[in-house]
Amino acid sequence: MTRHTDDDGSAEESSEDDRGNGRGRGEPAPGVPEAGRDEQPSIFVPDDGEVPESDAVGARDSEAAAGGDDAAARAATDGGVESATGGTDSTDLDPDAYDPVDVFPGGDLDLREGADSCYKCTSCDTSCPVAEVDDEFPGPKFQGPEQWRLKRKGDHDIDESITSCSNCMRCDDACPSSVPLSQMHNEARGQFVERQMEKLSVEYIRNRLLANYRTSARLASMFPRTASFAMNFGPARWAMEKVMGIPKERDFPEFATETFREWWKARGGAKVENPDKRVAYFHGCYSNYNTPEVGKAMVRVYEHFGYEVMVPPQKCSGTPMFANGMLDDARRHAETNVENLVEAIGEGADVIASCTSCSMSLRQEYPELFDLHGIEDLAEHTFEAMEYLRIHEDLEGELDAAGGPDEERELAYHAPCHARNQGLARQAVETFRDVDGVTVEDVGDSCSGISGTYGWKEEKYEKSMEIGEEMFEHMEDAEGDVGMTECPTCAMQMEHGTGYEIEHPLQLLEDSLGA
């Protein structure tokens, strides 16, 4: 299986071209999404300057061939809501099928309906780790439903406190009434950054750099040793804090001397071929540039269970971009991801992520914020790595048979907020509960406090550490002195607060299975 072993360099270039003529792109390749519908005029806008019908149909040839008419084929992938892109007469549309993504021109989502669902119970505010330590932060209820209800046509002012939301998304989980809080926050933050944030401000540039970690990481990993040294070089860090607002207390993660993708290429791609059991691995940026051992563990574990692993071209999942309101950046990356992952799904694969924020993004934020062709399919076919094995394999039986790792392991496990939102907070503890020689201790349900890029901002550093305090204490109290978590930035925080070495559950799984 060498089809997907191209390094992302080439994928990069082709999509850069796409970006150049984003709105009027020509003939898309089969399986490639059309220009995102959220960049198309809303369904009610007169048909001008949109993708010609023939192109749109061409783009869907594969589905049409798969049976069913055009509309049916598309409805299957986009939640049943028709768009204007097919040239459909808008009066034919199902009036019940309002999708906020469709309603408003210019890509703004109309989420006032979410304000209807809120009955002010304040569960979200009490679950918010930032509100707990930051008296100035009005909390998710204000940022979401209240602010949306107060907004009027012509109002473009979003309160700047939206930039204090760390996007941990705990409020989504806390709400008993299904208010789409994080969707409202993401949209509000996007509007704030686009319309109200000074584009030459240090804060904007710093946030943009943090959000586009993939870009910096790609550069750094060309000279990994130099970069690892230079980024953490004392005087350089002092300057970064002064000039960029990046706290000098934090250590930049080290860059691997061989990225995951380089390893994969050198390895010759997949060792197992199996058309019946295929997974497409979304490694994300961190496993590629910083911790390729996590990616390697994923490949070995999945091959152990007889899966054919595909590694499609991919970019950033968008998590840090959402958290910084850089929705345009996130959307650009999403186009590449959706295109390639949907293609893999077409070849029978499910999508597996080892980072819980990446899987969260593909599953929840993508369909909530963008309307790319196939994005709903992708959301439905995406799983976290251990979750998927627990569903489809007898993981515990297999672990039992393998008899545990060579040496005793004691780990202090922290469940990331984004794992919690996917219902995965207990899976690592449960999976390893009966494995001989392995003790996994849950260090509690607090947030680690870093929330991706939040803790990387100088003005947020103290609060980030205050939120993390409870986790640090519980880690110290736990038996083990190695930490474990699925989330790369939680791992940074855990390491930063305790000095522990941090592992990913996949690595423990690899060890325990002898994969």
């Binding site: 309002y98 209800r149 046509k153």
Partner: protein, 603 residues
């Protein structure tokens, strides 16, 4: 009170407030008396439409012309009460094309700026409009806040020497020697600001002239004076949606009919209305079918209404009037014009004039015409300046834009505060630092509440009307107690409690007509919060007799606790440690030791 004033105006609605302002500005010594709050009657129970005149452009062109003229005046003098939303008369396929053309021609004949737009354009402006809306006439309808408008008029009148008495119902019209010479009023809680629990007093106010501006209630005042005023009150329902599905006034373009208008108002949308003649403006049935009709029929224009959250519904009574002998059958056909009845000419009872009919949009014009009449009667020479003099709060509209940066309020909060206060924002917001938000749904800050308390005393409904506090989606569930707490510095506890109860009840009244879906959840949550968390359904402080606290708990190990043997005493001992619950019984009956005075006594 022996002193005679020039004029007593009865009725604190838009007309009465307009008249008292006009007369005060002309230099007359004037008193306004109102039986409830300002806007208590019909003014506070309307959908807040600032007419462009389009609605009357076919049937009643005189009214239409007055509307467009006054519409433009109010945009100037009452900028902080008006939102320039614009309006659309939309045509669905089944609506008559002929009428659409008549409407358009009518607008042009009345100088109402009107533009025809196609369905696509209408949906571009209002994306939630139904997809089969064919076309629309766009014209300058707007939204007006009747509360703010009346309060500003009254405030300006007071600045010009008038006296404003609310919660002061007229109990008699004084007639001496065949002439009206004043009114007798009852101050529910004494003169001046309303403060709960203050004793009531009565007062005679003698005046050279009495203006009866009580709208649908005009017949009652007429009766006290011994004259007939044949008002034909007609009720209409208005349903308040939680959010604004539209930002433009949406009218159905058809001759007449119920449920044909949606007005975006502040954070909400108001759906209206019905038109049903009633016997008594105080007592008429509020019927469910009316609410259902609003939602069903208006969903034809805006389908999203069907599933959207409804906050409450309220009813108002139009003060329709037609000269005796006209005999119109259907209330929708009765003219919307206003009538000035000089009882000297009409009934040979000088000293009183009644004004009936009309509508809020033309309130100032009505006030001008009655003030002209009063001045003429009294031989007072002065000119009217109310069309040019801005109302307090609208002196400097540009100022509103600067406020956001200044007061450290969260942007949408500042925007809404600024819009409510207009140019008074500086003075009001400056008072408090920090200035926390008291009502979250409507983003009303402490400074605004305190400002309203200064004006309205312990009357929290009056505070509500001035600030919108408690008018959002929780309907007071999360803020009545906070608003009431703002009274605590100034008023004793029983006053604060009464004020709180009154506001909470008022909020409940309208919600009774919205108890399904989300608002039902909200009402239930509010109930649980107030009944259980705050114990307001059985608060010892509200009991008449004092509480026998000894019956709850005599303390750990007390030999005669609850006086029923050593076993019981043992469980009481436990109760003392865990907040009053007898743990032994907790599992069996859901946490309450029923039948045991230690847990439940005192109720």
């Amino acid at each position: 009170m022996d002193r005679q004033v020039d004029v007593v105006v009865v009725g604190g609605g838009s007309t009465g407030c307009g008249v008292v302002r006009d007369l005060a500005r002309r230099g007359l010594d004037t008193v306004l008396v109102e039986k409830g709050n300002l806007t208590h009657g019909t003014t506070g129970r309307m959908h807040g439409l600032l007419h462009s005149g389009g609605r009357y452009a076919v049937s009643d062109q005189k009214s239409a012309e007055e509307c467009i003229e006054e519409n433009m005046v109010l945009r100037d003098i009452a900028a902080h009460c008006v939102e320039e939303t614009g309006g659309l008369f939309v045509k669905r396929p089944e609506d008559s094309e002929e009428y659409f053309q008549e409407k358009l021609e009518g607008c042009r004949a009345c100088d109402i700026p009107a533009e025809v737009i196609d369905g696509e354009e209408a949906r571009r402006r209002e994306p939630y409009l139904a997809r089969d809306v064919e076309k629309a006439i766009a014209l300058p309808d707007g939204a007006v806040d009747p509360f703010r408008l009346c309060v500003s008029n009254a405030a300006d009148a007071r600045e010009h020497g008038a006296r404003i008495e609310t919660h002061a119902p007229v109990t008699d019209v004084l007639v001496e020697d065949g002439e009206v010479v004043g009114v007798e009023i009852e101050h529910e809680t004494g003169p001046g600001k309303r403060v709960h629990r203050e004793p009531g007093t009565t007062e005679e106010i003698r005046a050279r002239h009495v203006v009866n501006a009580t709208g649908a209630w005009a017949g009652n005042i007429g009766e006290m004076a011994g004259v007939d005023v044949e008002v034909r009150p007609s009720k209409g329902v208005m349903t308040v949606m939680n959010t604004r599905q539209v930002d433009t006034v949406i009218n159905r373009c058809r001759p007449k009919g119920d449920a044909d208008i949606i007005v975006p108002h502040e954070t909400a949308c108001i759906l209206g209305t019905t038109d049903e003649e009633v016997d008594d403006p105080e007592d008429y049935p509020e019927e469910d079918w009316e609410v259902d009709l609003m939602i069903e029929t208006l969903s034809e224009l805006v389908p999203a209404l069907e599933d959207a959250r409804t906050l409450r519904s309220f009813w108002g009574v139009r003060p329709l009037y037609e000269p005796p002998g006209t005999g119109t059958e259907d209330p929708t056909d009765i003219t919307r014009d206003y009538f000035l009845l000089d009882h000297g000419d009409r009934d040979d009872l000088p000293g009183m004039t009644t004004i009936v009919g009309g509508k809020l949009t033309t309130y100032r014009m009505m006030a001008e015409s009655i003030s002209d009449h009063v001045c003429e009667t009294l031989g007072h020479e002065a000119t009217c300046d109310t069309a040019d003099a801005p109302l307090p709060g609208s002196e400097n509209p540009a100022r509103m834009e600067e406020l956001m940066d200044e007061f450290g309020l969260r942007s949408p909060v500042a925007r809404r505060s600024g819009q409510r206060l207009g140019s008074r924002a500086d003075d009001v917001l400056d008072e408090y630092d920090p200035n926390p938000i008291v009502c979250n749904c409507e983003s009303v800050t402490r400074a605004e509440v305190q400002d309203a308390v200064d004006e309205a005393g312990s009357d929290l409904n009056a505070v509500r009307l001035r600030t919108r506090a408690s008018m959002g989606n929780c309907q007071g569930g999360f803020c009545t107690h906070r608003i009431a707490s703002e009274l605590a510095q100034e008023y004793p506890e029983p006053v604060v409690r009464d004020a709180e109860d009154e506001l909470y009840q008022e909020r409940w009244k309208g919600q009774r007509h919205a108890l399904w879906g989300e608002q039902l959840s909200q009402a239930m949550l509010n109930h649980m919060l107030h009944a259980t968390t705050m114990n307001r359904d059985g608060d010892p402080a509200n009991l008449d007799e004092s509480v026998d606290f000894d019956a709850f708990d005599a303390g750990a190990g007390s030999p005669d606790a609850s006086g029923s043997g050593s076993d019981e005493a043992g469980s009481t001992g436990t109760a003392a440690a865990d907040g009053g619950r007898a743990t032994g019984d907790a599992s069996a009956d859901g946490g309450r030791a029923t039948g045991d005075a230690t847990a439940d006594g005192g109720r």
